[in-house]
């Protein structure tokens, strides 16, 4: 039955054409039907998956703007009676979120500068340098990606304590300038630099340009997309980092947004409308940045993944 239906349907558009080609016509028709089914199924599955990926964001927004009495009602309320925007300013002043934002921004800014600067320099060194042990060191670089932060954090904590860096931003903003946590970024920059034709460099050498000059006026201008990707990854990471601030920052005035957010959930009773309002505010910069610059994210990830 099924095949019959398929047969007649697929034949239909071709019956009016030349009779001698019915076999091919059927075959083509079948194929186009299968393609249509396939397309429909794909869209259906994508919508299904998309629903589950979007639901959390909708719920985050919904809970943040629902009237308090509608948060815990059953059946659940999927559209609020009215939008309560007050939760945002309320939670903003309930904890020093302005301070957290300033702290997080400072830390993120230093991370972006440090990571882009160092990953560009080091990536350039690995891409064009010809020195002994380069390939070995590059493997070491890749291997550092599997070192769990738990193993270095205790000695680092001791070290920072000794130099009185604890409860300052220094443990969070100095290491990026030494390529700490930037193995992935260095890798990304090197992969990108390898795509730049060496002839460019050799021509510049002939003209007597120095290595740094070539780096500055040939490689850097060409690698703005890769640098942007590194800067964006670095921003997202620093903005959302939790483990580092948790270990190194103690006084509330030094806290970052993630620490402040997590602290809202500490008391016995969690005020979910406030937590969600704060959660949305903390997430918003990342969501906006991602939407504006998502091309760089996907291209950056692709650049490192493809050759892994």
């Amino acid at each position: 039955m099924d095949t019959n239906g398929d047969f007649s349907l697929s034949r239909e558009p071709h019956t009016h054409s030349k009779g001698g080609r019915t076999v091919i016509g059927t075959w083509l028709g079948r194929k186009s039907i299968r393609r249509a089914i396939r397309k429909g199924l794909t869209i259906l599955l994508l919508l299904f998956a998309g629903f589950f990926f979007l639901l959390p964001f909708y719920w985050l927004f919904l809970t943040a703007v629902k009237p308090a009495d509608q948060i815990f009602t059953i059946p659940l309320v999927f559209w609020p009676r009215e939008f309560v925007w007050r939760n945002f300013p309320d939670v903003w002043v309930k904890a020093p979120f302005a301070r957290y934002t300033a702290n997080t921004s400072i830390i993120a800014a230093f991370n972006i500068v440090g990571h882009t600067l160092v990953s560009a320099l080091v990536g350039y060194g690995f891409a064009v340098g010809r020195f002994r042990g380069r390939d070995f060191l590059f493997v070491v670089l890749l291997a550092t990606m599997m070192i769990p932060p738990q193993i270095t954090i205790i000695p680092l904590f001791v070290m920072y304590r000794y130099v009185h860096w604890l409860d300052t931003f220094l443990p969070l903003i100095v290491p990026p300038f030494f390529g700490v946590g930037s193995a992935f970024y260095i890798f990304l920059m090197r992969q990108f630099f390898l795509t730049i034709p060496l002839e460019l460099e050799e021509a510049a050498r002939m003209d007597g340009a120095s290595t740094l000059r070539i780096f500055w006026s040939i490689y850097l201008p060409l690698s703005v997309p890769a640098l942007t990707a590194v800067g964006l990854f670095s921003f997202i990471y620093a903005w959302n980092d939790f483990f580092g601030p948790l270990v190194f920052l103690t006084r509330r005035e030094n806290w970052t947004l993630t620490l402040g957010l997590a602290a809202l959930a500490n008391p016995q009773y969690i005020d979910y409308k406030e937590v969600m309002a704060a959660g949305l505010l903390v997430s918003l910069p990342c969501i906006v940045v991602f939407f504006v610059a998502q091309r760089f994210f996907t291209e950056g990830v692709t650049l490192t993944g493809i050759k892994g």
Binding site: G129, V180, T258
Partner: protein
């Protein structure tokens, strides 16, 4: 990872580049010694002491390790929980990422939006997402159980149940398949079309093409994603911390069912101040991750590389 080769002629600047190469990567080299290799060595030394910050350290030989393996029930629990989480989250997230990438690769217009949606959770703070899921997984008023109820399933208590707390964590971790999906997508786009055409001529159906063309050609990408996601799974921390931390017991979950390894190290080090003991724990974690990675490299014969 090709190295710029066929440079039989050695230009005059070759000598200079040797020193310059080291200079270029020197920030990273210094950081490697100061912030990574040095601390790892110090951590190794600390693991043979009973140092607790307050009193001076005593060398106690292998006592930490002996205690860990013979008396520490929480260690065994943490190890079990972490392996459980990795065993669930790694294959499921690989399968989901591959599935989503296949859907996105069907060449249907508008799938860029879907890709954005799948990637979005990965750029948002884990703390915000963890708190959100904590709310969404509430047994009575949570939206997850509400949706399950709509299709006639009585949802479990999730975070409150020692049986369901880990599956809940695995479920939430599936939100972070975005980067993997993008990497898979790039891998899929890299498969030459003529391979599909050739197998079509041989009469291969969709499944056969997937099995005999897509999977082998994609195996390096699968391998890359697998190795990195195992490493990440063993380091899961922030999500557990915010989803399960309460006023009295921090994040152990019901019957310690969500005490993951990284969390245990953190608690021993920074809440109990057992720096020596925590260092031993961290070293065991490091070795486990290293062995897991090496095992995967050792048994990577299933990975098909086009050249050699």
């Amino acid at each position: 990872m090709q190295v710029s080769s066929n440079r039989s002629h050695k230009p005059r600047y070759w000598q200079i580049q040797r020193v310059e190469g080291y200079l270029l990567i020197s920030p990273w080299l210094i950081g490697l010694v100061l912030f990574t290799l040095g601390p790892i060595m110090v951590s190794f030394a600390l693991s043979f002491t009973n140092w607790d910050i307050v009193r001076p350290a005593d060398f106690i030989g292998l006592q930490n390790y002996i205690r860990i393996f013979t008396q520490d029930r929480l260690f065994k629990q943490a190890l079990y929980n972490t392996f459980y989480f990795a065993a669930g989250s790694v294959p499921l997230s690989l399968a989901l990422a591959l599935g989503l990438a296949l859907l996105l690769n069907q060449g249907i217009r508008g799938t860029n939006i879907a890709r954005t949606v799948f990637y979005m959770p990965s750029v948002v703070s884990l703390v915000a997402m963890g708190l959100l899921w904590r709310f969404m997984l509430q047994p009575q008023i949570g939206v997850v159980n509400y949706l399950l109820g709509l299709i006639g399933i009585q949802g479990p208590t999730w975070l409150g149940s020692p049986i369901w707390s880990k599956p809940a964590l695995i479920l939430v971790s599936l939100m972070y398949v975005g980067p993997q999906t993008v990497i898979f997508l790039a891998g899929l786009k890299g498969i030459p079309l003529h391979l599909y055409e050739a197998s079509e001529l041989d009469g291969a159906g969709t499944l056969a093409k997937f099995r005999h063309v897509t999977l082998p050609m994609l195996s390096p990408t699968i391998f890359f994603n697998m190795v990195t996601s195992v490493i990440h799974a063993f380091q899961v921390f922030a999500l557990v911390y915010v989803m399960f931390s309460g006023p009295s017991t921090p994040a152990h979950g019901p019957l310690n069912s969500t005490l993951v390894y990284a969390l245990y190290v953190y608690e021993q080090a920074f809440q109990q101040l057992h720096m020596g003991y925590a260092s031993a724990l961290a070293w065991i974690m490091f070795l486990i991750i290293m062995v897991m990675t090496l095992l995967q490299l050792r048994f990577s014969r299933w990975v098909y590389y086009e050249r050699g």
